[in-house]
């Protein structure tokens, strides 16, 4: 069979299918129609099929089947690997989870599940500091200027390395103030997340209110940055439909 995956006819078929799928799914923006329902169910089916395929090809084959049966070296550069029979015990263990469908034995499903929960919890505790320690350290910024001669940070570009290091190493007045603002913001927001005391004093009340407002600033900024990605993807979809399918792929088909 000489036909290859980049054959124009086949490619057109594929692109057309994609375009139809696009419009089919978009139809839901108007209302939930039979067309959408069709594509939705197809999507769910494909996804399920894909997951099952990947379950073997990307997880079990490498992580389970490989160690279980081992392999004889195929490359001159490496040793073979022996099979470890104990891996087969995973099967009955996992099977326990499926007792959930039985009224009588469903408690057994809690053994593998419990094990997984335990492992997850353990890992969470194990990684906790590695994950958040750096963030804590990162929030510690010097707030006393080391230079009083000037307030703002000098223009960095075009400076020789030594001078640049000096600038980077110093703390200028403006930076000190920013670092203080950073700290205050951090504390305010943290105080908003204190649940078990009623804030009575003006200060603490003010702090937690300010904290909530600061959160809104953060959220607004995130919103702004995320909008770009979302719109870019929509534009790409439209490009796919209008340009790649309608203006490029279709004419190429017709001119053959």
């Amino acid at each position: 069979m000489a036909l290859t995956l980049d054959d124009p006819n086949y490619h057109f078929l594929k692109v057309t299918a994609g375009a139809l799928a696009t419009f089919g799914m978009y139809s839901v923006l108007y209302k939930e129609t039979k067309i959408y329902r069709f594509f939705e169910h197809m999507f769910l089916g494909l996804a399920a099929g894909l997951s099952l395929t990947l379950l073997w090809t990307q997880t079990l084959y490498d992580l389970w089947w490989g160690p279980l049966v081992g392999r004889t070296a195929d490359k001159a550069t490496e040793y073979g690997q022996n099979g470890a029979w104990a891996w087969v015990l995973v099967l009955p263990l996992a099977a326990l989870a499926y007792t959930i469908f039985s009224k009588k034995h469903n408690w057994m499903s809690r053994i593998p599940i419990g094990l997984l929960i335990g492992i997850g919890a353990g890992q969470a505790i194990q990684n906790w500091f590695n994950q958040y320690g750096p963030q804590i350290e990162n929030s510690i910024k010097p707030a006393i200027p080391t230079v009083w001669s000037r307030f703002t940070v000098p223009d960095r570009n075009g400076l020789p390395q030594a001078a640049l290091d000096n600038v980077n190493n110093n703390v200028y007045g403006s930076q000190a103030i920013n670092n203080l603002i950073f700290l205050v913001t951090l504390l305010c927001v943290l105080s908003y997340f204190i649940f078990c005391t009623e804030f009575k004093s003006k200060l603490t009340k003010g702090m937690s209110t300010a904290g909530r407002l600061m959160l809104m600033v953060g959220f607004g900024a995130i919103f702004g940055t995320t909008v770009m990605t979302r719109f870019a993807l929509l534009i790409d979809r439209m490009y796919f439909v209008w340009i790649e399918w309608l203006l490029e792929s279709l004419p190429r088909m017709l001119h053959r």
Binding site: M25, V28, K31, E32, R37, F39, E40, F43, L44, L46, A47, A48, L50, S51, A97, I100, N106, S109, R110, I113, L116, I117, G120, A121, A124, I125, W128, F129, G133, P134, I136, E137, S139, I140, K141, P142, A143, I144, T146, N169, N170, V171, N179, L183, L186, L187, L190, F193, I194, F195, C196, T197, E198, L215, F219, G220, I222, F223, T226, R230
Partner: protein, 310 residues
């Protein structure tokens, strides 16, 4: 874990947090009554369920893409509370999952809820569903369900990613009340924009304590507060310390390593401004490898030195 230099410090830190939590849990179990401030999003739950009962439309609960971890199980606990109320009123419920393991846990918990409330007959096993473990297939499936079944209330609590807005807006378009909360900070803004009530940050974790008033949970919530205060305190103290050290204490020695064992020796140098890596706080968080190093340690060490130069 490496204990050399300041390595012990982080262990102690985590240990203290854990002690805070356990101590307060025990305290609460001893029957010490503890206060929790009001959380708007959670007061809305009953309202939402009431509304869907009147309309006779289902209540939807989705934990996003949460897997079988702290977040997912926390979400399921909240859902269990909601399901309990729904069971009393006989309000139909739908719970959709993207993770098979969590799905199976939830199915059991919800079934127990209905049984313990004495409404085993009202429990519909297809109410708890696995939709798909592929993010957007999941979104498509749930969105379709929302629109078809015209759900009256949606609880979107858990690990939400890009799909959050698809569900929130679909639910809004059928006029459902939405209570949402995401542990993924980048999604919260969208939930705030689209939903009626939003649990921000660890209000999500506070929820189960708030709803159940279960001593264990309330106690651990107090412990969490203490822990947050501890973090705040550490940051403030170290910040003061770092500021003073940086502004007033010049660096007069340089630590270098010599000899086959790479022994640390500190040599006097002309006084200069301290770099970040010279500061105590930095050293607390980046323990310095000991003398007599193995090859791997040497590699780490070189990396560390390069790091402290920038």
């Amino acid at each position: 874990m490496q204990y050399y230099d300041t390595g012990f410090w982080q262990i102690v830190f985590v240990a203290v947090l854990i002690v805070f939590l356990l101590f307060n849990i025990i305290r609460a179990r001893r029957g010490k009554s503890l206060f929790i401030r009001r959380i708007a999003g959670l007061s809305a739950i009953d309202e939402a369920i009431g509304r869907s009962t009147e309309m006779g439309r289902p209540v939807l609960m989705v934990p996003g893409l949460s897997g079988l971890g702290p977040v997912g199980i926390q979400a399921v606990n909240i859902f269990a509370y909601i399901a309990r109320t729904a069971a009393k009123f006989g309000t139909p419920i739908r719970i959709c999952f993207a993770d098979a393991a969590l799905y199976s846990v939830a199915q059991e918990i919800i079934r127990d809820v209905y049984q313990s409330e004495g409404f085993a007959d009202r429990y519909d096993p297809t109410a708890v569903r696995f939709i798909s473990d592929r993010q957007f297939a999941f979104a498509a499936g749930v969105a379709g369900m929302i629109l078809r079944e015209k759900i009256a209330a949606a609880f979107l609590l858990g690990d939400w990613f890009a799909e959050s807005l698809i569900l929130a807006e679909s639910a809004n378009s059928v006029g459902a009340i939405q209570v949402a909360g995401s542990t993924v900070t980048t999604q919260t803004p969208f939930l705030i924009a689209a939903c009626d009530y939003v649990l921000i940050g660890d209000e999500f974790y506070a929820a189960s304590a708030y709803l159940s008033r279960e001593p264990v949970l309330v106690g651990s919530l107090v412990g969490q507060d203490w822990s947050k205060l501890l973090i705040a305190a550490i940051i403030v103290v170290l910040m003061v310390q770092a500021s003073i050290e940086k502004a007033l204490v010049p660096q007069t020695t340089q630590e270098t390593q010599e000899g086959p064992g790479l022994i640390w020796t500190s040599k006097p140098i002309p006084a200069r401004l301290k770099k970040r890596s010279d500061l105590l706080e930095n050293r607390l968080f980046n323990p310095r490898p000991p003398a007599a190093l193995s090859p791997r340690e040497k590699r780490k060490l070189n990396a560390w030195e390069k790091d402290s130069d920038q």
